[in-house]
């Protein structure tokens, strides 16, 4: 097992990548991406048994789906730094002819991406389909999926929640990025999610809680979640994160959901994030 400090150090570099990616193309979604750096780092470095020589069908390996596709910067950074494609390619994010589309896509055949996401609410259903395929094949590996919290306002999510419990799909671990924010403001102001834990419980899921910006807790709870699979119930982790975590002026607000920093803001942000693994060249 990697040391917590090592994982934290990688998460810091991932945050630098996020800032540099959205700054370079002057577009993209830094807020949610920064908040999920620990989650993605832990998932790809520690939690999943996965293969960087990419196979679309993911037979015999754990597999991850990003439903809230707009936080693609954090995913691309972790995929690259985990060996799916060259780190240098991060410089092409959102550029013409890039494999790193604004929202993840399979069309350009970027290794690590198995479905397009961006239009919200669809990823959980897709992940459930892969989980069913694994069950049909007797494949014991797990399916992971991340959704946003605002994304839970989409009706398809609740169809999928009902279906998963009914079908006893117990090889899936859903994580909700519960940062409480969405484009127009706080979830509670836009469209309250109410008692989120009670809702998942009522739909027949096993519910865990996680502090998403505490690497030790992420590792602990993700392992707990894995231990809870195979019990005829789907598992969800409600992951509290701080949107914009790691950059003081971006932290805890919806204002950096989809806004890139200018030159000065970029420099201030990078000054708060140590270059631990080496920046990719621009």
């Amino acid at each position: 097992m990697a040391e917590i400090q090592e994982l934290e150090s990688m998460a810091t570099q991932v945050r630098r990548d996020i800032i540099r990616m959205v700054h370079a193309c002057q577009s993209g979604h830094p807020g949610g991406s920064l908040g999920c750096a620990e989650f993605f780092t832990a998932l790809y470095q520690e939690i999943m048994d996965h293969n960087t020589s990419f196979n679309m069908d993911a037979k015999g390996e754990d597999v991850f789906f990003l439903s809230n596709g707009h936080i693609s910067p954090v995913w691309y950074s972790v995929l690259a730094r985990s060996g799916y494609f060259p780190v240098e390619e991060l410089a092409t994010f959102r550029c013409l002819n890039s494999r790193l589309q604004g929202h993840p896509a399979t069309h350009e055949k970027l290794p690590g991406v198995r479905i397009a996401s961006g239009s919200l609410g669809q990823g959980l259903s897709v992940a459930l389909g892969v989980a069913l395929a694994k069950k049909l094949d007797g494949d014991q590996k797990k399916v992971f999926v991340l959704t946003g919290d605002g994304e839970l306002q989409e009706g398809q999510i609740w169809e999928a929640m009902m279906f998963a419990a009914h079908q006893k799909i117990d090889n899936i671990i859903v994580t909700v990025d519960w940062n409480g924010q969405q484009i127009d403001g706080a979830n509670d102001d836009v469209l309250s999610l109410g008692d989120l834990e009670a809702k998942w419980l009522a739909f027949g899921w096993t519910v865990l809680h996680m502090q998403g910006n505490d690497m030790s807790d992420v590792i602990k709870v993700m392992n707990e979640a894995k231990a809870k699979t195979g019990n005829e119930k789907p598992v969800v982790i409600l992951m509290k994160t701080d949107m914009g975590h790691g950059v003081d002026f971006m932290s805890g607000t919806h204002k950096w959901h989809g806004k890139p920093p200018n030159d000065e803001q970029k420099d201030i942000a990078l000054a708060q994030l140590e270059e631990t693994l080496g920046d990719y060249p621009l």
Partner: protein
């Protein structure tokens, strides 16, 4: 010969889907089926009885069904989704667009009760826009078979075809006449060679076109009838070859005049061989409740409508000479 095209009885195209799905499931263990609470309507019981572990009852949750199918395809399965045409397209257009078409998943969207001919349920269920929606999605194959046998053959064929497919069929019993005819995705089917006019027809309107051609033959008019079961990719060679000969075109389909087969053919002709055309289709309106023959008559999809369209286009052709 036209007189040799005869109906061997009536059966619904959806029965062809049910039987084809069963055969596809028997032939390939990767074939799986999903249904949104319409198992009986889609005739999926035979598949479910023999392959229960490969069937997923989704409940009335079409959006989730499309996503789960995309996931099953990602995992290497060949999912067939079953629901009515309206709920296979309009209701889930964004799911089909992002999770299936843009992601190029090997999902087979199987849609029953298409068009006006579901009858009494009325316009909420009578989708006349589905071909248009589906053909606009890059990479989507769109097939609208004409009878029981062709639907069965198409269902089996799409299981062996890599990529997303929209398969459209209907509710009512309909004359069967293609039992001994070939079916190949993307290849137009020549039903009758003629010289005066080409009738391109798809779905239920193929039979109406055959009836019309028989009547027109007795009036001394020679109709070429080409069955376009695959609307996308369109067999442009077959279209251009026939029109080069007849120089007059009628397109017949159970769909809105906008966005259907007629527009696909007119685009090909506009680019290659601008030609005289008439359209037998629903004229940009919603349907309504009623008996199938009454609906077909009221909305201009009957044998007489094909006959009239041929007369009209031939009158225009004669005026040119």
């Amino acid at each position: 010969m036209l007189k040799d095209i005869i109906s061997t009885g009536k059966k619904a195209t959806r029965d062809g889907f049910g039987d084809g799905l069963y055969e596809a499931g028997k032939a390939n263990p990767n074939v799986v089926a999903l249904c949104a609470d319409l198992v009986g309507s889609l005739k999926m019981n035979k598949f479910i009885d023999d392959f229960p572990e490969r069937f997923f009852q989704m409940g009335i949750s079409e959006a989730n069904m499309i996503g789960v199918a995309a996931g099953l395809a990602t995992g290497g399965k060949i999912p067939f989704t079953g629901t009515f045409a309206n709920f296979s397209t309009a209701r889930v257009f964004d799911q089909v667009r992002q999770s299936v078409a843009y992601s190029h998943k090997n999902v087979k969207l199987c849609a029953s009760h298409a068009g006006l001919t579901l009858g009494e349920d009325g316009a909420t269920h009578q989708t006349l826009e589905d071909i248009g929606m589906m053909k606009m999605l890059p990479g989507m194959t769109v097939i609208n078979p004409c009878d029981y046998h062709q639907t069965k053959a198409a269902t089996m064929a799409i299981a062996n075809h890599e990529g997303p497919v929209y398969l459209r069929f209907g509710r009512p019993g309909w004359p069967m006449f293609t039992e001994n005819l070939p079916f190949e995705i993307g290849k137009a089917l020549m039903l009758n060679q003629g010289t005066d006019v080409t009738i391109f027809a798809t779905g239920h309107l193929v039979w109406k076109s055959i009836e019309a051609a028989k009547e027109l033959e007795s009036q001394g008019i020679s109709c070429e009838i080409i069955n376009i079961h695959t609307i996308k990719p369109l067999d442009t060679d077959a279209v251009l070859k026939s029109v080069a000969k007849t120089k007059a075109v009628v397109v017949a389909e159970e769909h809105n005049i906008m966005g259907g087969l007629g527009e696909s053919i007119s685009r090909v002709l506009a680019q290659n061989n601008p030609s005289l055309m008439e359209f037998v289709a629903v004229n940009d309106t919603f349907g309504e409740s009623g008996k199938v023959p009454d609906l077909i008559a009221k909305y201009g999809l009957d044998t007489v409508d094909v006959v009239n369209a041929v007369h009209k286009v031939l009158k225009r052709k004669a005026a040119l000479v």
